[in-house]
């Protein structure tokens, strides 16, 4: 790996040599030590579903072609893949359940730390879910919405689709999916169904398995949709906010607390409590009080809603500790590297786990419960202040890297900006500009980082290329983090990289929004669970044009994906009719049937399909070509 650059993030460039010198192992070291990675696993032809196994299929045809039970490569690959989808859907929907239950508590008058911050949105949701909210007390509406959402986890009638899936997609899409028998009726049941049908000796037909996976992906969509929308109700709907990103947001003279993970339930309260405990931090010697920063999607959540700066994204999470200036990292669920505690051993940093079902050996566990959220948050901040006192000044290396980032473009915020141009018909200016070609199409960037690609590089490379081609870009999750850290969520980036017509549109919108210049090059739509926000916008456009989603010049890209959640998201994007690029070779190559289905056959069935391309330049060209093809299809 001599000529291999690990990252294009300047903060990583600065900190990695420091880590190396100190002998601190990072994800990149572990990745290198893991080479070569098992070829059977990479192909997805290794089955460990029963204990007659592990079985693996020889891709060269010399050795075994079937597992002990007789499962062939296609069955094995498809089973492995849809189990990943089930896990991804489980992760998102557990998050959603947590939020929905909290909303129920709020409606019933428990959970004193929480309230309804966006009543208007709650009422709108209630209307969408056909709950006739007019004239009802807001707490009653909260209860009804929470119960209707929880219904999506418990409905037993198989022919009644999930509320949140049915009411948020185009009617045409809902019908098509129902016809295919993939519309979920109950998130939990669909996840369970995947586990059941992939058990040894059950579903063995690769295509039938994949249809089960598609249903699981739609269950994932349902869970994330309700999770995002209900979070807005409780914590407020994001509006554009100017903030900063990258590790330079850590402060030498402050108690630095990073909130990391995915669930805003605790991080929001920590932000509140931290404000109130500033004096205690100062008493402990931190001149600037408490500095809360974000990592991964919890970071995106608090960045969007509160303008809390984003320290870093997934792959560089260890770097935050290596700065030597982080006093506590508070983690909830998902994408938290278990390595954090061993890196933290080299410093004074406290790693604090907060969820009963997510602990890490070596971390301090301070359990979080909705009814005592404030007390937990206080305890956490106290631990951080104590840790600050133990900070070794000689080990502090805060890289001088931070970028401005304009974030907070929820669907509502985008509509608000558009309505400045046309109050009666906000979508019209956007659609007009798509039709006249000023905007060629829309691309949604999502997904994680992966050491198999140069950290953040694929996001940046593809985005610059699409910008040149006048593609409007949205981003969520660690992709959004990559853009924020590397300065692509700025007005300057629009000036520098956008094609002429895109620049003109973004400038007109930015000026109308009172930004005194263009909108940023990439619009930050939130955490990875917030991908449903982009669907909201797309569905609104599709409905207005009277076409289904699979006709729109719309693409998605997850160029550095790694998690099971990303597999689920990518699959529902394809299911909704969106051509979706992935920049990491997925572990399905051992089955021609599965590969062909996902990259070709899906197109006829659903309109969407996967595009696998590891080279970011080529990927950008392919995405532009797809947008052009879709435009031709629409006759524009």
């Amino acid at each position: 790996m001599s000529n291999w650059k690990n990252s294009v993030d300047p903060a990583v460039d600065y900190l990695l040599p420091i880590a190396k010198k100190a002998g601190i192992e990072t994800a990149w070291d572990r990745y290198e030590a893991m080479q070569p990675q098992c070829g059977f696993g990479e192909l997805g032809v290794c089955c460990r579903i029963c204990w007659k196994g592990p079985c693996r299929i020889d891709p060269f045809g010399n050795g075994p072609q079937r597992g002990v039970c007789g499962a062939d490569a296609h069955t094995i690959v498809a089973r492995n893949l849809i189990r990943m989808i089930a896990a991804g859907a489980a992760a998102h929907s557990e998050h959603g359940r947590h939020i929905a239950l909290t909303l129920l508590e709020v409606g019933e008058g428990h959970a004193p730390a929480y309230r309804i911050k966006d009543e208007q949105k709650l009422r709108k949701i209630a209307e969408k879910l056909n709950l006739a909210p007019a004239g009802k007390d807001i707490r009653q509406v909260a209860k009804e919405v929470a119960l209707a959402s929880l219904d999506d986890y418990s409905r037993q009638k198989r022919n009644v689709p999930c509320n949140w899936a049915k009411e948020t997609l185009t009617a045409e899409r809902v019908d098509k999916l129902a016809e295919l028998g993939v519309m979920p009726h109950n998130i939990d049941a669909v996840i369970t169904e995947i586990m059941g049908r992939t058990h040894v000796g059950c579903d063995a037909d690769a295509v039938n398995l994949l249809l089960g996976g598609i249903k699981g992906a739609l269950a994932d969509y349902t869970g994330m949709c309700l999770s995002t929308e209900l979070s807005d109700v409780i914590f407020g709907t994001p509006k554009p906010v100017i903030t900063q990103a990258n590790l330079g947001v850590l402060k030498e003279d402050a108690v630095n607390i990073a909130v990391h993970g995915h669930n805003p339930l605790l991080s929001e309260i920590i932000c509140d409590v931290a404000l109130k405990m500033n004096e205690e931090a100062k008493k402990a010697g931190a001149k600037e009080g408490i500095n809360v920063v974000g990592i991964c999607c919890t970071g995106n959540e608090v960045m969007m809603r509160r303008g809390i700066p984003l320290a870093t994204n997934y792959l560089s999470q260890e770097m935050a500790i290596i700065t030597g200036a982080l006093d506590a990292m508070v983690v909830d669920v998902q994408c938290i590297m278990p390595a954090l505690t061993s890196v933290a051993e080299c410093f004074h940093t406290e790693i604090i786990t907060t969820m009963a079902e997510n602990k890490i050996t070596g971390a301090t566990h301070i359990e979080f419960r909705e009814d005592s959220a404030v007390e937990s948050a206080k305890k956490i901040v106290e631990v951080a202040i104590e840790a600050f006192k133990k900070r070794d000044k000689r080990k502090v290396n805060i890289p001088d890297c931070k970028q401005t980032a304009i974030t907070g473009f929820s669907a509502e915020a985008i509509m608000a900006v558009l309505s400045k141009l046309n109050a009666n018909d906000p979508l019209k200016p956007l659609i007009d500009n798509i039709i006249n070609g000023n905007i060629q199409g829309i691309a949604l960037f999502a997904g994680c980082n992966n050491p198999k690609a140069i950290h953040d590089n694929s996001f940046i490379t593809i985005a610059k290329e699409l910008a040149k081609n006048n593609v409007l870009m949205l981003a969520t999750g660690c992709g959004a983090g990559a853009f924020a850290k590397n300065g692509l969520m700025t007005q300057e980036a629009t000036e520098a990289y956008a094609g002429e017509s895109l620049k003109a549109v973004l400038t007109a919108l930015g000026k109308a929004a009172g930004l005194n210049g263009p909108l940023p090059l990439v619009l930050h739509m939130g955490s990875c669970v917030d991908n449903s926000r982009a669907v909201n916008v797309a569905v609104a456009i599709a409905n207005k044009l009277g076409v289904d989603l699979d006709k729109l010049p719309l693409v998605a890209s997850a160029p550095e994906f790694m998690s099971e959640k990303a597999v689920a998201i990518g699959t529902w994007a394809v299911t909704l009719g969106i051509p979706t690029h992935i920049g990491i070779v997925p572990q399905i190559m051992g089955s021609s049937v599965v590969v062909e289905f996902l990259t070709e056959k899906a197109k006829d069935l659903l309109g969407g399909y996967f595009i696998v391309e590891t080279n970011p330049e080529l990927a950008a060209a392919k995405l532009v070509a797809v947008i052009k093809e879709r435009r031709r299809g629409l006759g524009i």
Partner: protein, 187 residues
């Protein structure tokens, strides 16, 4: 006439090797005379004599080539490495862990490692040279035992090559080619 024939050696086909390291595990277990579960539950630190490397997008295991004019055998000051019975043999008991052999081996095939079942409380670390011995150390009671890695490879990427028969086959194949060419000219 024991040393009249050239050495056997192991050959791996990088186009078939998947880098699963199955051969490494098999080698380590074979030389420890131990099964996987026992090794893992006892926490033994097993050392394979081969090593799977990844170069230029290709993967293959590297092990001792059984050189005819073996540099390691020349260099070994204690005579622990020597030629015998179509093997470059190694007598680990005589090895003092000076690492000269590892320096002269053109393939990096030799490692110095401690005893697998090391108890630890000795005067010295007692590291010994380890290299592929074509599983000679597994042969007991003069029974033929095939190489563990060759047995373990799920894609049949590795094979034990008998130089004599390999060469004979090669000559025959080239001969056939010449004959075919000649008959074309004649016709």
């Amino acid at each position: 006439m024991a040393t009249a024939n050239e050495n056997y050696f192991i050959y791996a086909d990088p186009r078939k090797c998947l880098g699963c390291k199955n051969c490494e595990i098999a080698c380590a277990l074979a030389h420890a005379n131990c099964d996987l579960t026992t090794a893992v539950t006892r926490g033994l630190k097993l050392k394979p004599r081969n090593s799977v490397v990844q170069v230029g997008g290709m993967v293959m295991p590297i092990q001792c080539r059984q050189c005819e004019d073996a540099p390691c055998a020349h260099a070994c000051p204690t005579g622990a490495i020597y030629q015998e019975d179509k093997f470059v043999r190694i007598n680990e008991g005589n090895c003092i862990g000076c690492k000269v052999c590892t320096m002269v081996c053109p393939f990096g095939a030799i490692i110095i490692a401690q005893e697998e079942k090391d108890e630890g409380n000795r005067r010295t670390k007692n590291g010994k040279a380890r290299k592929c011995d074509l599983c000679y150390s597994r042969k007991q009671d003069n029974k033929e035992v095939s190489c563990a890695c060759v047995e373990a490879c799920p894609t049949k990427a590795i094979m034990l090559v008998d130089y004599e028969s390999y060469r004979k086959k090669l000559i025959e194949e080239r001969g056939k080619e010449l004959v075919r060419a000649y008959s074309v000219i004649k016709a």
